[in-house]
Symmetry: C2
DNA sequence: TTGTAAGCGTTATCAA
DNA sequence: TTGATAACGCTTACAA
């Protein structure tokens, strides 16, 4: 009974008699053998059955973000189906351990705006890559049309005949605190999807005759309730008070709804609030949030499927769907 | 220049001259070498720097569950700090790929009630294990006192002088649909933490003179909004209508609050509703939810720390904290 | 149908 | 300070 036969017992049942195979498996179990070792198998075969998901934000934060969560749900659904495993990585880091972890997966899903060095490093592995909410020439990616989605919801909110608009933006500049923008901020090059959303808001505002100034645009560095509440409070106590608040994420918009209530404002009669993403909680708020639903779960499913099926060099743009709910006025 | 020297250049800078080391690193970068390969290193050293988190529910579901999410946040916080990596696994599965994935990690965190075969398998790896929300003799674990937490919140809700109690329970029996319990269900052995919560509810009800029957107890198989709404609707339309609804999770309780509103019931005047867990959303509901806060993030941190620091054979019980908020009547 | 042997990329040991 | 070598556990030609 050689090692080869044992290997075959586990991996190629047709290469030996059923009887021998059974005996081997039984003996292995008896000896407490746990089955082929992944490290050794990977080394030999060059395939680990592990898929890496690299997140642009920190792991801890990403796990708390409802949108990232939905993406991961979609990804995991497909991976489980295909018997692949999920290794979570985060960008920014460049330790030797990080590089080690990067060497294991058979392929990567890169979510969000990955920093340049990490991106280069992963590209150089030569392994298949699928980008999500991030684009790069010649690399397979899954995105939505952020400009269009933002335009649609802003247009809807502004059609109600409003005249004072504020924007609660996500990651508009490279700064780690909540603040308003300046014209210089806007002119600076910054390659985040939020800039496309801002472009959509701006186009809708211009078309509806209520263009806004940079100082009506807030920058929020990270999609958390705490940050959003600060910005919402500033925006809603500004003079003149905005009667339309366009938010770049549902987390932000939901925070804004709560802040508005705290300030004694009625949503939508005093102020209309719109979100972006379509997270589950957006349906449950009071009033329910009007938002741009971007099907994050489906995005994850699609990205994983494309990665595993080797859909090279396809750049997919998913449709967004407007969810019109109570947080927009109908005056 | 031998492989050994190159290895040293990456792992033991003191074993060669700075000059040579620098040259090696530079050349390696130029050649597109990504750094030591994890599979090979693991094979040789017997250590992967990967930690496995095995979830009792499916991966996809767990990623959507706010409580599991908080646990994972805590775990990831510590892992990132320690330069370890996170492999997500789920219980129930026993494919060869699963066993492969199980062979990689240096240790495991087992979250929830892991099925017996998976648990045995992981135990036999001989690697360090930390159980969370799950106990087994002689194995390190992190738990809370579910009976006590449940007792405290139930006692608080029932002190208000109510007389009709219903319970929305999570995973009380082995059945995949929402249903009420029978006495036989209660008598059957079932080793889930929810049984301890039920015991706490029962004790408080008995002490407050409003003991409930099995048919006032609902079983919900999985902690999702959809399931919870079905159960909540059944419970709140029962005759006589309960004026206290004790829920075994915040997701369930938040759903119940919405269902109550749909039915035109005022919370807490018509019905008091209590939760369990202390998820972020519980603060934001309308009215805010009274619940038992179980510090899930801290649980994750602690479990990861104990795993990495080799706290063998310690069985920790974390304190729970009562959060008294608007969903309980003060009549 | 079964066994032999090479080699995957590392690192630890030991020798130079 | 550096280099040669064996071994980690597995899979896959190929030989028996």
């Amino acid at each position: 009974m050689s090692t080869a036969t044992i290997s075959n017992a586990f991996n190629r049942p047709d290469q030996l008699s059923a009887k021998l195979r059974e005996r081997i498996l039984r003996d292995a179990a008896k000896l407490g053998y746990h089955g082929p070792n992944l490290a050794a198998r990977t080394l030999r075969r060059g395939e680990s059955d592990v898929i890496g998901v690299m997140l642009s934000d920190s792991l801890t934060y990403s796990l708390s973000d409802p949108v990232a969560n939905q993406l991961l749900q979609g990804v995991s659904e497909v991976l489980v189906e295909r018997n692949k495993h999920l290794l979570l990585l985060s960008s920014h880091i460049d330790s030797s351990e990080q590089r080690g972890a990067e060497s294991l997966p058979d392929g990567f899903i890169l979510y969000g705006t990955i920093d340049q060095p990490s991106f280069e490093r992963v590209k150089r592995t030569g392994k298949p890559l699928v980008l999500v909410d991030f684009e790069s020439d010649e690399i397979t990616s899954v995105n939505i049309d952020n400009e269009k989605g933002a335009y649609k919801i802003a247009d809807l909110a502004l059609k109600q005949g409003s005249n004072e608009v504020a924007v609660l933006g996500l990651k508009l500049i490279d700064f780690d605190r909540v603040c308003r923008l300046t014209q210089a901020d806007l002119d600076a090059e910054y390659k985040e999807i939020s800039r496309s959303r801002l472009a959509g808001f701006t186009r809708a505002a211009t078309e509806n005759g209520c263009a806004f100034q940079p100082d009506s645009v807030w920058h929020i560095p990270i999609n958390s309730t705490a940050n959003a509440e600060i910005a919402a409070r500033e925006a809603l106590t500004k003079h003149p008070r905005p009667n339309v608040l366009l938010c770049m994420s549902d987390v932000i918009a939901l925070s804004a709804i709560r802040v508005a209530r705290d300030l004694g404002l009625d949503v939508p009669n005093d102020v209309s609030i719109t979100g972006f993403d379509g997270i589950p909680e957006s349906e449950r708020s009071n009033p329910p949030l009007s938002t741009v639903c971007q099907q994050s779960i489906e995005k994850g499913r699609l990205a994983a499927t494309m990665l595993l099926d080797g859909a090279d060099d396809k750049q997919v743009t998913l449709e967004t769907k407007l969810e019109v709910r109570g947080s927009i006025g109908n005056s």
